[in-house]
């Protein structure tokens, strides 16, 4: 089954480009440390998932590029084509000239309806090229106007047009100290709307990735390109082909479906966080060796302690013993409070994957009491190494990972809304105070649900 990617806005297009680059680089540029047969299976599965072919035999990304101004798409298309190893379809893009002005209302209420037909036509064309459509992967930031507003609108259209397809939104959480002053408004409006149409939201926080670049990758002068490459690596580590538990001897053909089934048992809980280890500068890789038990231990503690990366993990945070009669109080700021999960997915890539013991992720105390830990945890594996890492593991978690960031954004947005600052910019384009209130209400509900796990 194939995934159609929709790249929205400057951020979505810049990241999308890095994602395809990484995937292609992984398949062609590394030999995977496994048998030739394994490699070929991997290659074929990856191609089916992400690329189609045209006369030129250069793989064509299954993607639609959308932006309300032309410069980024233009650059994205040409850079991809220059690589020689893959490209975008020349016609699978749509752009306008004037941008969305960082205005969610402009993206959602003006650009959305105005360009709905053209955009959905492009999506339809890509979908038709797939032998079997596995779903949609949209990439967008929450802070701006196009990715956020138009992105929310397009997601709604996808849901309307493809009611039984899986939709996964990849959402970029902006830096806390702004990139855009109205980013909290745009974020609140985006999240509340996506929650209605999307199957799940997979989140990357700029602040977190920035830290990874600084502390793990040792990059001195960090650019957006660096940030985007780390994000692309993390996404690739999840979406490149793997074997699932029930999948037998073939690479899984339905990654989005498998993801939703594993991670989203209840529609109230759709926020997914992503962790990937190890992460280090490329030139150190050759000198490092990793052992699975160590990686698993670190990853599990990152889950429990809600650590954003593999440095500075708080080992003091522990799970309560089940036999203890002390009920855990549900407070976000309680010290040593552990991160409660709805569901977890661990992806393992590299040598000796099949011998790894990941039983520790099935500990019932990790999960909310109304869940069955056997069902709440899944693992995907492949012996084929990913992107030059001899061993690599990722955790996709539906847990309280994003509770604090969500609470922060809603809090800041509410604080601004109370003074009515900037609201006139939104009402100008048809988003009224009531719409804001609806969004706040929806998100407070999500916060409450996650808090009370």
């Amino acid at each position: 089954m194939s995934i159609v990617t929709v790249q929205l806005g400057q951020c979505g297009n810049q990241i999308g480009h890095e994602v395809f680059n990484t995937i292609c680089g992984d398949v062609h540029g590394t030999h995977g440390l496994c048998s030739k047969k394994e490699n070929e299976s991997y290659h074929d599965a990856c191609k089916e998932r992400f690329f189609s072919e045209d006369e030129s035999e250069v793989p064509v990304a299954r993607a639609v590029l959308v932006d309300m101004e032309p410069k980024v798409i233009s650059q994205t298309l040409s850079t991809a084509a220059r690589s020689g190893s893959w490209k975008y379809n020349d016609r699978s893009h749509f752009c306008q000239k004037q941008g969305s002005g960082n205005n969610w209302a402009n993206g959602y209420s003006v650009h959305g309806p105005r360009h709905k037909e053209v955009i959905m036509n492009l999506v339809q064309k890509e979908a038709e090229k797939c032998d079997r459509l596995g779903g949609f992967f949209t990439i967008m930031s929450m802070a701006g106007g196009t990715g956020s507003g138009l992105g929310a609108f397009v997601t709604q259209c996808l849901r309307d047009t493809f009611p039984s397809s899986f939709i996964l939104n990849h959402v970029i959480w902006p830096y806390g100290t702004g990139e855009v002053i109205v980013q909290n408004y745009n974020s609140v409006l985006t999240l509340s709307h996506l929650y209605q149409s999307s199957d799940a939201l997979l989140v990357h926080e700029n602040d977190v990735i920035h830290k990874i670049c600084a502390q793990r990758m040792n990059i001195k002068q960090i650019s957006f390109r660096d940030v985007n490459q780390v994000i692309a690596h993390q996404l690739g580590s999840v979406f490149q082909p793997t074997y699932t538990a029930g999948g037998g001897s073939h690479y899984s053909r339905n990654p989005l479906g498998d993801l939703m089934e594993s991670l989203v048992p209840h529609p109230e809980f759709k926020m997914l966080g992503l962790r990937n280890i190890p992460q280090m500068p490329e030139n150190s890789l050759a000198y490092s060796t990793f052992h699975w038990p160590g990686l698993i231990k670190h990853l599990r503690q990152m889950l429990i302690a809600n650590a954003k990366m593999e440095e500075g993990i708080d080992w003091q945070v522990r799970l309560p013993h089940l036999s203890s009669s002390v009920p855990s109080t549900h407070s976000i700021n309680k010290p040593l409070h552990f991160n409660t999960s709805i569901a977890n997915l661990v992806v393992l890539r590299g040598k000796d994957v099949h011998s790894i013991d990941i039983g520790s992720f099935q500990d019932p105390s990790l999960y909310a009491c109304w869940l069955n830990p056997q069902e709440a945890f899944n693992a995907w594996k492949t012996p084929r190494a990913f992107n030059k890492y001899e061993k690599s593991t990722s955790l996709v978690s539906n847990s309280q990972f994003l509770l604090k960031p969500l609470d922060n954004v809603v809090g800041k947005a509410w604080n601004m809304f109370a003074s009515k600052a900037y609201v006139h910019q939104y009402t100008k384009f048809g988003i009224e105070e009531e719409d804001f209130l609806d969004s706040f209400t929806a998100l407070e509900q999500v916060i409450s649900s996650y808090t009370n796990l």
């Binding site: 650059q75 205005n103 100290t177 509410w414 409450s448």
Partner: protein, 474 residues
Amino acid sequence: RVSLPFAVGQCGNQVGCRFWELALREHAAVNKKGIYDEALSSFFRNIDIRNGGDGPDIDKGKICSLKARALLIDMEEGVVNEILQGPLRDVFDSKQLITDVSGSGNNWAVGHMLYGNQYREKIVEKLRKTAEHCDCLQCFFIIHSMGGGTGSGLGTFVLNLLEDEFPEVYRFVTSVYPSGEDDVITSPYNSVLAMKELNEHADCVLPIENESLFDIVNKIHQMINSGKLGSTVKQNSLVTSSASSAKIVQEKPFDTMNNIVANLLLNLTSSARFDGSLNMDLNEISMNLVPFPRLHYLVSSLTPLYTLADVNVPPRRLDQMFSDAFSRDHQLIQADPKHSLYLACALLVRGNVQLSDLRRNIERLKPSLHFVSWNQEGWKTGLCSVPPVGHSHSLLALANNTCVKPTFIELKDRFMKLYKKKAHLHHYLHIDGMEQSCFSEAVSSLSDLIEEYNELDATKGGPSADPGRLKIAV
């Protein structure tokens, strides 16, 4: 994506002239192949003059003949004629000009009411024609001074017109405010009458004060002459705009100061014209920096100062560039943003500056700045890859800050001094359409604006009210 500048009056046209020269220079430096590209099209049309300039625009391919997208308006002919005889003569054609002979006599009413009504149709017609040639019209720029008659009166008349004819296109106004020692006695009247129009019809105003420009020019001179910058001034120095002189010479009064304003406009539009990893468009500036419709006055600063001069300087400490952007010496009006209240702040970086440099400096400078309680982290940032000509990087800072208040208060005081004595009022009142109420309404509008800033200042330093969060049923 087009930005359409209107230069109105003597000051406006002199600044405009510097702007067009700098724009051509900037694009020439970037566009080595002589291809007419998107970046060029935001300010210039490409036409084949063999058709007498009446043929359709040439959208792609080689540059034939560039024509500036602009309207030049003046009620005297001197300045515009000079432009048409100078190096820019091929960049304009007569259809873009609206001139008269006798000027406005430093009288806002003459500019706004008399000439406004007289030239209304002609302006609308030329405006429509110019707009027709634009694929996507995003923004109008009005460049004018506040203290005179044409720029101030007719300039604000044009502003009104733009709102009527093209309500969806953003209106940015670059206004040069008169200083206390301005030699035009009636400049306070003209400025306050114009302010009312700016309050009501502009989307964003970038106020400029000559004193600040003068101080900055002197600083640059000092830097160069003291040898601190470590090298010589290049030929074709922007500071002199004289092709032959190698020393700093003030060719014309205001020429060097006008360059600064021209650079402001270039930098403001750079991210819309050139590539970058985080684009910042003009509509984004308006969206992020104007939290309430009337509070749309933005204090600007351009650093490093030497990017305003054509000097060959090895790049200095990057962080200094950021620090300077917030110092009172570098603002284009007499204001001290550091000691007043920020409502919002935008930083547009050009050239060889990375995301991490930008973030590091924001973190570093944030603690010393006061932000309003509902916008504690209110930063808008942009990264444009193309630096200004001959330099490796530069920074434009735009602040919506209560430090504009003193400028407005002083203006009001100077106005009241004249108004109380009814000095010179008769020059205005005998113009058709002008009444005493125009004056009282104008000063009232200004007072209201000052009051809005007062209310915000009152919140500074106090505890931020904590609006309780929405409670929902669990």
